[in-house]
Structure formats: structure tokens, C-alpha cells
């Protein structure tokens, strides 16, 4: 059983209250940072830990913090991206609703490190009940003197606000989030300038995922070096994986990075294997936007090595035979899954969520969805399969923000690895469109 740095006390009765959380060692990192460390030392500790962004991009957090511009007399902001809305990803929701004070503690420590006097948690609009929990927890933190003026007599003051979005996936993109937070339409900004230079209200801003900010707490408590001892290579520490799909034990697992994918799927400590004794067909390892991989490639790399739950191992082979750890939204699909239908479903989501600002994404996501709809319903042609790849290629890399890639990668990967299923939908439309139909034949078509 690996170490639990974030979720050790998640099942303790009343842990979402200040009193119980404090009793279990809560807010120690705030005390330690404010009383014994300078802001730069906190940043250094995060750098040492090797912590990488847990929202999906995997960018080194300490480095991101050190990029923050610090002009004299200009306010700076730390913004927590709690707009978790990618299909298959549901770890932050759980973390915030069960351990709201862990996030608040991370926000205080992080804000202190960055010199922010006002910080925000931008939460997904649909998570109203979590918003209430967070607001209550923030009020408790204010009452206990951990937020507000002169925290713990250190001279450092911080105001923390929770801001609900209106339910748009695009507002999870950091610059669209900042636009939305400013009260504007949630359209991503062109970069540069990056938020570290001109973010919220055109001021230097750091945007971090919920889990990233929560991970700052154990890093400061135990030291960056201790945190870096966990994990493998450049993938240090622990990671929350939200596992769903055809698994015996779907749920949220805190794993030490480096667990073999096979062990994660099949061992009783984690997902307990594929339900009903069925065979695994495919896995989307990091939320719906990362490339799907067939069983053979998710368990082992193309070179035949065991695939590990790390940033490096999962991306081994690039987008030809690899994928990404992403946000940790682990979706397992058994042999009864129709890949075409699944891809169409993902595509529907991205079509619906594109902000419409730039042409390739606005028009391309809709085009992909319509072609997939046709294929799934038995009206497609062989030409359509190549068309999907071509349109995905036209979107990828040519858009303002990564939503274009998020829409294109799953489609391109599905065609790359499961082309025979798409062809089956063209050659046997009646069979393929029957309720519950899924391709189970040999993957060879003349």
C-alpha cells in the first residue's frame, strides 16, 4: 500500500470542519511557512519536490511559481482552477468536498510564497454543493485567524474568495478562466503574454489545479526532498487517479507515481480487475482528451516494457503508441465497448464545449462530431474514416488553446488504433448499429 499524502484522513468523521481537520495536523504548513520560512524558501521547497501540475499539463509547479513577475507595488494573485469538467476526471470534486481545509491550507501557503494578498478559487458552476462546503470552510478559517489580516501575527494578510463559473468546460483553460473571473465571456486569451506576466486584471497571476495546491501542504510539512523520494524519476510524489468505466472497483485512488498500469487495473488494492470477468479492450488514461490506447499498448510500451503510471512512461512512444497521464481520469473499457460510439460521445462533448472563438476548433469540432455520428449510425463511408484523420490534423496545433487538441487527439488515436472498428461500421452497418453492438472480430480487414 503506497503512502497517502493527501487522502490519509479523508474518511475521518467531520474532517471537513476546521476543528477536526486541525486536530489531525491541519494548517501546520501555514504555521511553518509563515513563522519559519521566507516566501522564496517556500518556492524553493516546491521546486525541490519536483511537483508537476496535476491538472493535466504536468508543468513543474516550482518553476511556474518562479516565473511570476514581481514588479514593485503591483498586486499578484494565486488562482485555483477548480473547474474540473473533463469527462472521466472527478478527483478535485471529491478532494474539495471531503477536505476543503486541505485546499484552503494549500492556498494560504501558496499565496504566501507568491506574495499574493487576494486569491481565488474558481469552481465549476455545477458543483454548487461543493461551493457551499468551501464557503463554510473559508468562514471557519477566517474565524480561526488563518485568513484575513495579519495571519498568526506574521504580518501577512490574505483574502480568499470562491467564484463559481457558469458551467463551461473551456473556463478550465487558465486564460479563459481568468476572463470569466473578470466577468467577461470565457474565451481563452492569446498567449503571450502569459498569466505569470499579465493574468487576472492584467496583473501577475499563477493558476494551479486543486490537487497541485493541495500537494503543497505535505511538501512544506515534510520537505521537498522527502516528497521527491516518492515516485519515479521526474514523476515525483503521489497522484489522485479517478478510475471509472468497466472496473470492479471504480473510484478515486491516491497512488504513488510509478505503479505499473497492469497492477493499477488488476490488483485488489486498486481497481480489482475488469468487471464480470471480461477482457480489457482499451483505456483512456488521463481524461477524455488524451489518446485512447488498446489493451496491448496500455499495459506495455511498444518496446515491450511495463507501462507505469508516470508522466514519462505513459507518453513513451509519443502519440503513435503512447498517451498521457493528463489529469488522471482513468477510463477502462471492456470488450463490449463500441469504440466508434465512445469516440462520437467524446466528440459530442468537445463540439458542445468549444468556445467558438477560433475557426479550426469552432468548425472542426462540429465537423468531427457529425461525421462520427454518421459512422456510428451506419451511414458512413470509408472516405469518412480518412476524413476524420484529416480534419483532426487540421485542428491540431492550429488553435488558440488546447481544446482543439483535446477534440482532435481522441479521434485521431481511435482511428489509429481501432480503424477496423470504423471500417466494420461501414461494411456491416446493420450489425454495427444494433443495440449494444461492439466489434469483437479479428482486427484485419481486406
Amino acid at each position: 500500500m503506497g503512502r497517502k499524502l493527501l487522502t490519509e484522513h479523508i474518511n475521518v468523521e467531520g474532517i471537513n470542519t476546521f476543528e477536526v481537520y486541525r486536530k489531525h495536523g491541519g494548517y501546520r504548513s501555514v504555521e511553518k511557512a509563515l513563522k519559519t520560512m521566507t516566501p522564496d524558501e517556500v518556492v524553493e521547497e516546491v521546486k525541490k519536490s519536483g511537483l508537476r501540475g496535476r491538472g493535466g499539463a504536468g508543468f513543474p509547479t516550482g518553476m511556474k511559481w518562479s516565473f511570476l513577475a514581481k514588479p514593485e507595488g503591483v498586486p499578484r494573485y494565486l488562482v485555483c482552477n477548480a473547474d474540473e469538467s473533463e469527462p472521466g476526471t472527478f478527483k478535485d470534486r471529491q478532494l474539495m468536498s471531503k477536505l476543503p481545509h486541505l485546499l484552503i491550507e494549500g492556498m494560504i501557503t501558496g499565496s504566501y510564497a507568491l506574495g499574493a494578498r487576494t486569491s481565488y478559487i474558481y469552481i465549476r458552476g455545477e458543483l454548487l454543493y461543493v461551493l457551499r462546503i468551501l464557503e463554510k470552510a473559508i468562514a471557519e478559517a477566517y474565524a480561526a485567524g488563518f485568513l484575513g489580516e495579519n495571519i498568526l501575527g506574521s504580518g501577512y494578510s490574505l483574502d480568499l474568495h470562491v467564484h463559481p463559473g457558469a458551467g463551461a468546460y473551456i473556463c478550465g483553460e487558465e486564460t479563459a478562466l481568468l476572463e470569466s473571473l473578470e466577468g467577461k465571456r470565457g474565451n481563452p486569451r492569446n498567449k503571450p503574454p502569459f498569466p505569470a506576466v499579465q493574468g487576472l486584471y492584467a496583473r501577475p497571476t499563477v493558476v494551479n489545479n486543486v490537487e497541485t495546491i493541495a500537494a503543497v501542504v505535505p511538501i512544506i510539512n515534510e520537505g521537498g526532498d522527502e516528497y521527491a523520494k516518492l515516485g519515479v524519476g521526474k514523476s515525483t510524489g503521489t497522484k489522485l487517479i479517478s478510475a471509472c468505466g468497466h472496473l470492479n472497483k471504480p473510484g478515486i485512488y491516491e497512488i504513488e507515481l510509478g505503479v505499473p498500469v497492469e497492477e493499477f487495473i488488476y490488483s485488489d488494492e486498486y481497481c480489482g480487475g475488469i468487471w464480470k470477468g471480461r477482457d480489457l479492450k482499451a483505456v483512456v488514461a488521463g481524461g477524455s482528451s488524451v489518446p485512447i490506447l488498446p489493451k496491448e499498448l496500455i499495459l506495455k510500451t511498444a518496446a515491450g516494457e511495463n507501462r507505469l503510471m508516470t508522466y514519462e512512461s505513459l507518453s513513451d512512444g509519443g502519440f503513435v503508441t503512447g498517451t498521457m497521464l493528463g489529469s488522471g481520469g482513468f477510463i477502462a473499457m471492456d470488450e463490449t465497448t463500441c469504440i466508434v460510439k465512445n469516440t462520437w460521445n467524446f466528440s459530442r462533448f468537445y463540439h458542445h464545449e468549444s468556445c467558438g472563438q477560433c475557426s479550426p476548433c469552432r468548425e472542426g469540432t462540429g465537423w468531427l462530431e457529425k461525421v462520427l455520428h454518421r459512422l456510428e449510425h451506419g451511414h458512413g463511408s470509408m472516405h469518412d474514416i480518412d476524413l476524420l484523420v484529416s480534419v483532426a490534423k487540421q485542428i491540431e496545433g492550429n488553435t488558440i488553446c488546447p481544446l482543439g487538441e483535446a477534440a482532435a487527439w481522441p479521434v485521431a488515436a481511435a482511428v489509429r488504433h481501432f480503424r477496423h472498428e470504423f471500417e466494420w461500421h461501414v461494411t456491416n452497418p446493420k450489425e454495427a448499429t444494433a443495440p449494444g453492438a461492439a466489434y469483437r472480430g479479428a482486427a484485419v480487414l481486406a
Binding site: N190, S354, G356, C358, S359, T365, G366, N398, I400
Partner: protein, 338 residues
């Protein structure tokens, strides 16, 4: 100052200049197309992706290529930057794709569109597109909305460049229209069919690159290539209006009035609605002479000229390059050999 190489041509431009504007200083066929960028409008650009270029060397300090194509209209130059536009196949392929994407929901109703002949998308598709489409699905349509007596909105033609929104934001006091909805269901609209009514609202017609916003007072009156544009001015009492316009004549009648545009279709000076809609008599104006017509416009039929490379921005051009430029239009050296 920063020295950049654009399509093999060196040019020196002030720091902070965008790649697109650096290319415009060279001029001619090397200039990337732009469907959403509009120099006078702050914040415009980056949306249509028509001007994507390949940066094969970031700068003299860091000569690594940029991993993705970049929007030239919003990317500033760095000293030593090397940019590829017309000489890069990837850029040309992507541009074909952008034309295809833009034409998915833009109807080809040029025969009945007032913008025909002066439409940026026509030019863009002609220069970079292909003759067929691979799109077989249903096109989006919109409920027609009335936005007042002066401006006609054809939402089906809109390519969501946001220029009209920026225009209303930046040169009028009360913007009542904007982008509603999301993704390919986005549309330009007013809040509960508000009428766009302020002294400068007509400028949204001039900035629209397609036929989505057209002049209601000019609707179906005449094809632009049968009209004669003449520059004129008047002493306008409106403090923000320069009073310098282009009158579009058919015979002796002034059919419409527009702001003056430069060779990239960008308005030089905004004009008020009084000049645009109310002053349609020659007697209202002091005529200056025929307006210069953009080479890409069909209005210039039978008056085609090769675009000119400005010799002042190209120092010490090697003779081999000069010969190459002469041999291979669309570039011509202005003032040197002609």
C-alpha cells in the same frame, strides 16, 4: 530595432512590431492574409488563424524553431527571427484547411451578397482555398433578427471575427451587440433585438470582412464593380469624425458612402453615421479624386498591377534576388527598375 527574415527577405522593423506588420512593410504577395486582425482595433486578431506562419528560428539569442505555427498578427518580432510563409508547405496546407473550415458555415451566396467584390473571404478562398468541399453535413442557419434601419445582419455569413464587437466597444459609447452562444452556435446578436443605434454604428459595416453586416441603404442597389469610388471630404461637425470618405458613384448618383480603407482593407479614419447615411449628394462633399483600388478587388478589373516591394525597407538587395523577383512576380521592385 529588430531584423527579421521573412520568406527569405530581410527587413528591419521597430521592436514590438508584429510579424504581420513586418510582412506588410515588405508588401506584395508575401503578406499573410488576415480575416480578424484589424490594426485600429485593440485586442483584435488571433481568432481566424488565417495568418498562421512558421517561425523557423525564434531569435538570434534562441534560434530554436517555434513548435507550432503562430498567428503572425499577434506575435511580435524578435531580432534574428526567421519566418516562413509562402515558402512553407505546412503553412499553405494549413491555410487550405482554414479556408475549408471558414466555408463550412459561410454560404456561397456571393451572387446575391452585397459584399461580393470586396469580400476578404472571397480573396482568401481564391488565393488559398480549393475548388471543392468535403463537408456533407447540414449547415447552420439562424433566425433573422432586425438590428435597425441602417444595418443589415446576415448571421449565416458571419465568420465570427469579432471585429464589429471590438469596433462597437472601442469607438462607440454604448455597445448593444456582441457574441451570443458558444462554439458553432455562436452568433452576433443584440440583447432581445435591440437596435444598434449610435453615431458611429455604421463602422461595423466597414470592418466586417464578409457580408454579414451590410449597408441597408445600399442593399441590392448595384454591384460594386459597376460603381466608381471617389475620395471626398467635408467639414463634419462631429468631433470624432474626420469627414474623409469614399463616395461610390453610379453615373452621377452617390449610392453609398464608406470610410476610406488602406490596401489591407482597414479603415484609416472612422466616420459618423451622418456622413455615411445622410450625405448622399455630391453637393455635400468636396471631391478629391478617384480612390485607389486594391489590386485584389474586382473593382480594379482591367487595371491589374503587380504589388510593389518597397525598396526603402529592403537594403542592399542582392542582384540575384532582384533578378528572381523580376522573373517571378507577384513581386515587383518599386522605384528601382520600373
Amino acid at each position: 530595432m529588430a531584423k527579421i527574415t521573412f520568406d527569405g527577405i530581410e527587413v528591419e522593423v521597430p521592436d514590438g512590431t508584429t510579424i504581420l506588420n513586418a510582412a506588410r512593410q515588405i508588401g506584395g504577395g508575401v503578406v499573410p492574409p488576415a480575416m480578424c486582425y484589424y490594426t485600429p482595433l485593440k485586442g483584435s486578431g488571433g481568432k481566424c488563424r488565417a495568418c498562421l506562419v512558421k517561425v523557423s528560428a525564434g531569435s538570434a539569442k534562441d534560434p530554436r524553431p517555434m513548435p507550432k505555427l503562430v498567428a503572425s498578427c499577434i506575435t511580435t518580432v524578435q531580432d534574428g527571427m526567421v519566418v516562413e510563409n509562402t515558402i512553407n508547405q505546412q503553412v499553405l496546407d494549413v491555410r487550405k484547411g482554414i479556408v475549408e473550415m471558414l466555408l463550412i458555415n459561410h454560404p456561397l451566396d456571393c451572387p446575391v451578397c452585397d459584399q461580393a467584390g470586396e469580400c476578404d473571404l472571397q480573396d482568401f478562398a481564391f488565393e488559398h482555398g480549393v475548388g471543392t468541399t468535403r463537408y456533407e453535413e447540414e449547415r447552420r442557419t439562424f433566425e433573422k433578427i432586425d438590428i435597425g434601419p441602417l444595418i443589415q445582419l446576415h448571421m449565416t455569413r458571419c465568420i465570427l471575427c469579432y471585429r464589429c464587437v471590438y469596433t462597437a466597444n472601442q469607438i462607440t459609447d454604448n455597445r448593444v451587440h456582441g457574441v451570443l452562444g458558444r462554439g458553432d452556435a455562436s452568433e452576433i446578436g443584440t440583447y432581445i433585438e435591440n437596435i444598434i443605434d449610435n453615431d458611429f454604428s455604421g463602422n461595423v459595416i466597414d470592418v466586417c470582412p464578409v457580408g454579414a453586416l451590410t449597408d441597408k441603404t445600399f442593399r441590392f442597389k448595384q454591384r460594386v464593380w459597376f460603381t466608381k469610388p471617389v475620395n471626398a471630404h467635408r467639414d463634419c461637425t462631429h468631433e470624432k469624425c474626420g469627414g474623409r470618405v469614399t463616395l461610390w458613384y453610379k453615373g452621377k448618383d452617390v449610392l453609398r458612402v464608406t470610410a476610406r480603407k488602406d490596401e489591407y482593407g482597414e479603415v484609416k479614419e472612422w466616420i459618423c453615421n451622418e456622413c455615411r447615411f445622410d450625405k448622399k449628394e455630391t453637393a455635400d462633399w468636396v471631391l478629391e479624386g478617384p480612390a485607389h483600388i486594391n489590386r485584389a478587388s474586382v473593382i480594379a478589373q482591367n487595371h491589374y498591377e503587380l504589388p510593389v516591394v518597397n525598396p526603402q525597407v529592403i537594403q542592399d538587395l542582392p542582384e540575384s534576388t532582384t533578378r528572381e523577383l523580376e522573373r517571378n512576380p507577384p513581386l515587383r521592385l518599386g522605384g528601382l527598375n520600373n
